[in-house]
């Protein structure tokens, strides 16, 4: 059974919505933080509805709306969201106030909106969507879990249209804490040069990307989601796990036209990613994307948006190209590693 990508919406550190050609003017950032380009949210909701929403909720709501508009779906049959950290800004606000005011006179709103399911449930409330509603929060498998759930749902009932997305935000607090773990670049170089310089650390990213998936193909749809897999601490099984995945999709490595690799640009990591692209897929085109959106739990949602656009337009923008095999892109494999323990695969196909 095929799962069709009938709509997509992406709010990211790049201008990824509107009519602009794919990544025609990539944004360059100095420092180790890539924050989203914010659309004018009043084009999606009126100020009354926006007044209580934190940035991450607005980003999710906007991406969801864009996806639904593209798919021509007013109310989806279900909403499934993946988020590693959930609504961090509100969590940080409540925690800070709680400590500072010694547990007294606390505003309830940041607490209410701190839970991970706030984004998905706010979209449900706005759309009056009473169907299936789910939120996954398994770090860098959060979005992959969303896709797996979608595939199961649509196998059971292909007629449904499901709004499926991945959302995460950077906050000042999370940046300060994560910086202390030494996982971000210290050299303030240009973000677009991430892969041209060897250094320790990556860039912190964020984003919100939603998709409308269905077992029924909408007229303009050009891409289908074939399969998804996650590997937690695979050790030295990773390559054979990937081969088994391809086999389960009735593919050989040579059939993969494009590999989008989620290498983070941290010189201490990424050995698996290089090994995979060089030894497993020597004849495929390869592309990198984390210099555009940064590293974060649901970055694979950005990659899915990217892969979908590439298949639709049959063009791989130079800014992401690592190796050009000059092949038309029919089968596109997204490989996303997240630090050492998380590795995932998403397979897309032109349809």
């Amino acid at each position: 059974m095929a799962v069709y990508i009938n709509g997509k919406g992406n709010i990211s550190p790049q201008k990824t919505w509107g009519d602009e050609p794919l990544l025609s003017s990539p944004r360059d950032y100095a420092g180790s933080k890539l924050e989203c380009v914010q659309p004018d949210y009043t084009q999606f909701l009126d100020v009354r509805q926006l007044r209580r929403m934190s940035r991450v909720i607005k980003m999710g709501m906007a991406a969801g709306t864009l996806a639904l508009r593209e798919a021509g779906v007013a109310v989806p049959d279900g909403i499934i969201t993946g988020t590693g950290y959930g609504c961090l800004e509100d969590t940080g606000t409540f925690l800070t106030k709680m400590v500072e005011s010694n547990e007294s006179a606390l505003n309830p709103t940041p607490f209410i909106q701190s839970t991970h399911n706030t984004i998905g449930s706010q979209i449900a409330l706005l759309l009056q969507c009473q169907g299936y509603n789910q939120t996954y929060t398994q770090r860098a498998f959060s979005f992959e879990n969303v896709l797996l759930d979608c595939i199961l749902e649509l196998k059971d009932n292909p007629k449904q249209s499901i709004l499926a997305g991945g959302v995460d935000e950077i906050t000042n607090i999370s940046h300060k804490i994560e910086e202390r773990f030494g996982i971000y670049r210290q050299d303030s170089l240009s973000s677009l040069e991430l892969f041209n310089s060897t250094g320790r650390g990556t860039l912190q990213g964020e984003g919100a990307a939603y998709f409308v998936l269905s077992g029924e193909k909408q007229n303009l749809c050009k891409v289908s989601l074939i399969s998804v897999a996650t590997f937690y601490k695979p050790g030295n099984h990773l390559l054979s796990d990937i081969e088994a995945f391809l086999k389960s999709c009735s593919l050989e490595a040579g059939d993969v036209d494009l590999v989008i690799s989620g290498k983070s640009g941290d010189s201490r990591l990424g050995k698996e990613a290089d090994l995979i692209t060089s030894s497993l897929f020597p004849s495929s085109s390869t592309a990198l994307f984390k210099h555009l959106c940064g590293e974060f739990s649901s970055a694979s949602a950005f990659a899915l948006w990217l892969g979908t656009r590439i298949i639709e337009e049959q063009q791989i923008p130079g800014i992401i190209l690592e190796r050009n095999a000059k092949r038309p892109v029919k089968n596109c494999l997204i490989y996303n590693p997240y630090f050492n323990d998380y590795h995932s695969l998403i397979l897309l196909r032109a349809c």
């Binding site: 925690l95 709680m98 400590v99 202390r180 937690y232």
Partner: protein, 400 residues
């Protein structure tokens, strides 16, 4: 959807304010005991004011009991405790089969993050990093998976207080689709200052012991704990010749889409969750022998849920009770803990008390089970879990 083959429950493990294992819990139920009391395990201005349902083991005691678990968050400690019991109890070798762990939590490592924040707020270079390294909900699941030796599939769900039921349902679906053979599914949440103050800011915590489904109810008591089931496919059951404890016969997840925190007056989301779960199981309302209610004890939840139950089940409603009067509301863990209770009801042919009930809610008139009662015929049990954001889930367990 329909379930192709049976999704059997091969094991169950639980820890809460009324016991550190399924056996201890049953003993507490038999004696109609409550686990609600004063805060003893952490400092708070609410200590002595707001009653809670604490697990009667400190972090140190849990860490020693579990071995080599220094610096592990309380949510993970509770989760490991209950998940180990479930796996030992199931007698299945989790390394032999395609095994997954699907856990639910709403606070994750928040208890340690709070410690970190005390120092971090005044100086962002301060605070021990090892106290925030396990903050993420997904980290809790990693810690449990690593303890059990599970490498295949891990997932975490946070749909607020309905999380655990959704975790068990996702596990059942993965087995149903033939993607996994064995799934350990449930949830864990520790009591934290964050949630205590959060619910206090919503003014829905009762300063007395909570009274679910009673006319005089005026809020909930927070609790903590963990509950996990081991779900296995028909094939695993046959090959291991397992004597299982029941099976998952139906479930549904809906959204009330009414308000960010409050349930709709007619409980439209909960009604449709119960109705769809029944449809999936192929059962009629009259087939249900016991309902483990969500029953938090807030004015809003109990009226909304009660209205939906009354509408679906009519005047001849089954025995029903909220065990949150015993355990407190354990948030993301509640669906897992109450799934274990539901399985215990089937296994021991009994129902559990809804403590402190005196008068029915006038608008609906439902009278819950007030005492522990055994020697009954319990074939089908429904368990409800609803959460903020309108998330409603209902699940039905049946006797083999």
């Amino acid at each position: 959807m329909t379930l192709e083959g049976r999704i059997h429950v091969a094991g169950a493990g639980v820890i809460s304010a009324i016991g550190n294992s399924a056996d201890e819990t049953l003993h507490s139920f038999r004696n109609n005991l409550s686990g609600i009391g004063s805060i003893t395990l952490f400092d708070s201005i609410h200590r002595g004011v707001l009653p809670v349902g604490e697990v009667k083991l400190s972090n140190r005691e849990l860490a020693v009991k579990l071995g080599d678990k220094k610096d592990v968050t309380r949510t993970a400690l509770l989760g490991i405790h209950a998940a180990r019991e479930a796996v030992q109890n199931a007698g299945v070798d989790v390394t032999k089969w395609r095994t997954g762990l699907i856990s639910a939590t709403t606070v994750g490592g928040m208890d340690k993050t709070e410690e970190f924040f005390n120092e971090f707020i005044s100086d962002s270079k301060k605070g021990r990093l090892r106290n925030v390294v396990n903050h993420e909900c997904g980290k809790t699941t990693e810690l449990i998976a690593d303890d059990l030796g599970i490498r295949g599939f891990i997932s975490t769900i946070n749909t607020a207080c309905s999380s655990s039921v959704n975790a068990i349902a996702f596990g059942a679906r993965l087995i149903n689709h033939g993607l996994l053979d064995v799934v350990i599914a449930g949830g864990t949440d520790a009591l934290t200052k964050f949630t205590l103050n959060g619910f206090n800011s919503l003014m829905i915590l009762d300063q007395k012991e909570c009274r679910p489904f009673d006319a005089s109810r005026s809020g909930l008591n927070l609790g903590e704990g963990a509950g996990f089931l081991v779900l296995v496919s028909e094939r695993v059951r046959k090959e291991n010749n397992l004597h299982t404890m029941g099976y998952v016969s139906g479930f549904a997840n809906t959204n009330d889409a009414f308000h960010q925190t409050a349930s709709s007056p007619d409980g439209r989301g909960s009604f449709s969750a119960m109705q769809k779960a029944l449809a999936m199981s192929g059962l009629q309302p009259a087939d249900i022998d016991y309902i483990n209610l969500h029953g938090t004890g807030t004015l809003n939840n109990d009226l909304s849920e009660g209205t939906a139950v009354a509408r679906l089940f009519g005047e001849r409603y089954p025995r029903l009770s909220s065990t949150k009067a015993c355990t407190g509301h354990t948030l993301g863990a509640s669906g897992g803990i109450e799934a274990v209770f539901s399985i215990m009801a089937i296994r021991h042919q009994c129902v559990f008390p809804n403590l402190r009930f005196e008068n029915p809610i006038p608008e609906i008139g439902l009278i819950p089970q007030q005492q522990f009662e055994a020697g009954l015929k319990i074939s089908h049990v429904m368990s409800n879990s609803f959460g903020f954001g309108g998330n409603c889930s209902s699940m039905i367990f049946s006797k083999e």
